[in-house]
């Protein structure tokens, strides 16, 4: 990604100099964490390419789409129904950020002891370093956790934010609330795009997103093989890219990757020796370019075979029922699918415990690493429940609470190494 994009970035009002610096650092970081891996799949070349063009080609595609009248919607949560946006001819991109960027600007408007993910996306905005944010025609927030909820109030001082009310419980009244919110969102999306959403366009959109979910489910199933044919780092990247890449192209490319993986599984070829400790990550999401945890785990004698998180199965586990025919029943199908999401913002969220145990068993893991971002209270409190549930199932758990800085990498490596020794 060279000076060829400078003009585009300037038009988007980015701080081009700082942005170029950021990309250099990112490039080096990526090299250390990803390119240093041995035996990578050919299919990962696509991901390497996408990452290298993360603020370049993909942004250009978005700009071209906008020039044709398409609208871009930015979101921060897997709860926002992408199908609605796609059905209206729009493009949805995830804006969650995974780097310590613009921290001093962010800390002018947010307290220092705020979750790193929140400070990051606010920092990207205030530092004028994210072309995705600047390309959005509508930014969608939601009432999930306290931090995000109040951060959107601050963010909206710089860029308007449409806030969706996400239910906190799963009683019938809450489903009603959510259905109303989906319809309200639909109206807002129609207004922004100028396009009416029909049952047909919804069906097409659902097919797209379901196919993407299916290919990621297929990928996850292939990781149950021993030895595992792909690293956790690579899968995390794939999941992260799924939030902003073109759905059709992405699905096709990952399908090809899965074909390659099947060959590997058939020939018993793994990305690490057969007896490498298999671990699963659970908890808070990891936004790009936050690759810290799988990097630490995979440098400490273990390999990551699954993610129970918004950048993993929480996002891909459930499909939307494609049998619905009428507009209302299609909306119901969408509503029902999203209500299955087991984020810690929900209470009591006991289904998450079952999902974690089941997943750990299916993937034949020796242990689970629970990941909490510092200051995230919902996941911190749930970690206790998860630990108890896993203990009853005879599966050990390591709880890690950290942020984006590299300060505690050595300490974390020690803990993971000790945990790996424990699980042998």
């Amino acid at each position: 990604m060279a000076g060829s994009y400078d003009e585009m970035w300037e038009k988007l009002n980015l701080d081009v100099e700082a942005h170029t610096g950021l990309l250099e650092v990112l490039g080096k970081f990526y090299g250390d964490i990803y390119m240093s891996q041995q035996g990578r799949l050919r299919g990962m070349e696509y991901l390497d390419f996408v990452l290298s063009e993360v603020h370049g080609l993909r942004i250009k595609e978005l700009q071209d789409a906008k020039a044709q009248g398409k609208k871009v919607f930015g979101t921060f949560c897997v709860f926002v129904p992408e199908e609605i946006v796609l059905a209206a001819g729009g493009v949805q991109v995830g804006l969650c950020a995974g780097a310590e960027i613009g921290t001093s600007e962010a800390e002018k408007v947010l307290p220092r002891n705020t979750c790193a993910l929140i400070k990051s996306f606010v920092g990207f905005k205030l530092g004028r370093l994210c072309p995705f944010i600047e390309s959005c025609d509508m930014i969608v927030g939601e009432t999930t956790c306290d931090g995000k909820k109040k951060a959107y109030e601050i963010f909206s001082e710089y860029s308007p934010v449409y806030v969706m009310e996400i239910p906190q419980m799963k009683n019938p009244a809450d489903r009603e609330l959510w259905r109303n919110e989906v319809m309200r969102f639909k109206n807002a999306v129609e207004d922004t795009t100028g396009n009416k959403i029909s049952a047909e366009s919804l069906k097409d959109a659902i097919h797209l997103t379901n196919e993407r979910r299916r290919v990621l489910q297929r990928l996850n199933r292939l990781r149950a093989a021993v030895p595992v044919p792909i690293s956790g780092r690579d899968v995390l990247l794939i999941n992260q890219v799924s939030f902003y890449d073109d759905p059709v192209r992405f699905t096709a490319k990952i399908g090809e990757l899965c074909d390659e993986l099947e060959d590997r599984v058939k020939s018993g070829e793994g990305v690490a020796p057969k007896n490498t400790t298999r671990l699963m990550m659970s908890g808070c999401p990891m936004a790009v370019p936050n690759w810290k945890l799988p990097y630490i785990i995979e440098s400490s004698g273990a390999i990551v075979v699954g993610e129970e998180s918004c950048i993993g199965t929480r996002n891909t586990r459930d499909l939307i029922d494609e049998n619905a025919k009428t507009f209302d029943s299609i909306i119901d199908a969408i509503v029902d699918r999203y209500m299955k999401i087991d984020c810690a913002c929900f209470t009591p969220n006991t289904e998450r415990l079952d999902n974690i145990v089941r997943m750990a068993r299916d993937l034949k893991v020796q242990g689970v690493v629970h990941y909490g971002l510092s200051f995230c209270q919902p996941y911190a409190i749930e970690a206790f429940k998860v630990e108890r549930a896993l203990r009853s199932a005879g599966i050990p758990m390591l709880s890690i609470e950290t942020d984006y800085s590299m300060e505690d990498v050595e300490q974390l490596k020690t803990r993971v190494e000790a945990f790996v020794e424990m699980t042998k």
């Binding site: 001093s104 800390e107 002018k108 800085s405 590299m406 300060e407």
Partner: protein
């Protein structure tokens, strides 16, 4: 101790955790200034400092202000906080001062002033040593460099490295491993100075920096910190002739012009 009650003169005394400063003023000007270290006996040190000093009312500020008031009941003592004292003192040494930064031995303060010189906003860090003079003292000892020349030492670095640790204790470990890895102590010192300046700059930006910025307190003697601050903030930093005295001057001024208790 001799102290003649004289309604014209006012003494300002700043009792900090590391040093104590004394200033005596009357409406015509400065009559006396002196300082000493707090050591472990602030009251005794105060007594020694005050010996032979002709002063009327005393205005005490700093960490030990209440201790002073309680220990010297035979003289007229009022207390004000260091925030107020530094605001007044900074305006005295720089009549247009809009922001005051004080990095002391054990705490760091940023004060934002209004056009009229009133305290508009302030922020203090007195919880974590990493943003204070203590950090530099600790590191200078670790690198076996005298504290007074630590700044010049750091300025001799030939390239800038980053010290990641926020915590003083971990920063020392990081410094040690860098030394073992062959990094020069000058470069390490520079990295440590950059750390404290970054933390200070973050605090300044939260409160809001308007020029002129007056840099007071013990750490203002450190030329490396001054240089890095100017770079980080993109503006000149004004260091008064005697940065340690700013608090005591402000306290005395309060006695001369402020509300009489």
């Amino acid at each position: 101790m001799k102290s003649v009650l004289n309604h014209d003169t006012v003494a300002g005394i700043d009792i900090g955790s590391r040093s104590i400063e004394l200033v005596v003023l009357n409406p015509d000007g400065l009559l006396h200034r002196s300082k000493t270290s707090t050591a472990f006996d602030p009251v005794g040190q105060c007594r020694r400092l005050m010996d032979g000093v002709i002063g009327g009312r005393f205005i005490a500020t700093g960490y030990g202000r209440r201790l002073f008031a309680e220990s010297f009941r035979d003289i007229e003592v009022s207390v004000i906080t260091e925030i107020q004292a530094y605001a007044l003192g900074a305006r005295f040494v720089c009549p247009e001062a809009m922001t005051v930064l004080d990095i002391g031995g054990q705490d760091t303060k940023v004060i934002s002033l209004s056009g009229a010189g009133k305290v508009r906003k302030f922020e203090m860090n007195d919880r974590c040593a990493a943003g204070t003079g203590k950090f530099l003292e600790f590191m200078a000892t670790a690198l076996q460099v005298p504290l007074e020349s630590f700044g010049d030492f750091a300025l001799r670095s030939d390239h800038r490295i980053r010290i990641n640790s926020m915590c003083a204790v971990f920063a020392e470990s990081e410094a040690t491993s860098l030394m073992a890895g062959g990094e020069s102590p000058e470069n390490i010192a520079m990295g440590l100075h950059m750390g404290i300046v970054q933390r200070t700059a973050a605090m300044l930006k939260r409160v809001g920096v308007s020029a002129p910025l007056v840099f007071a307190g013990g750490v203002a003697h450190n030329p490396c910190v001054v240089k890095l601050l100017e770079e980080e903030l993109g503006q000149a930093v004004m260091v008064p002739e005697d940065p340690d005295m700013v608090g005591a001057i402000g306290a005395a001024l309060y006695g001369l012009n402020g509300r009489v208790p």
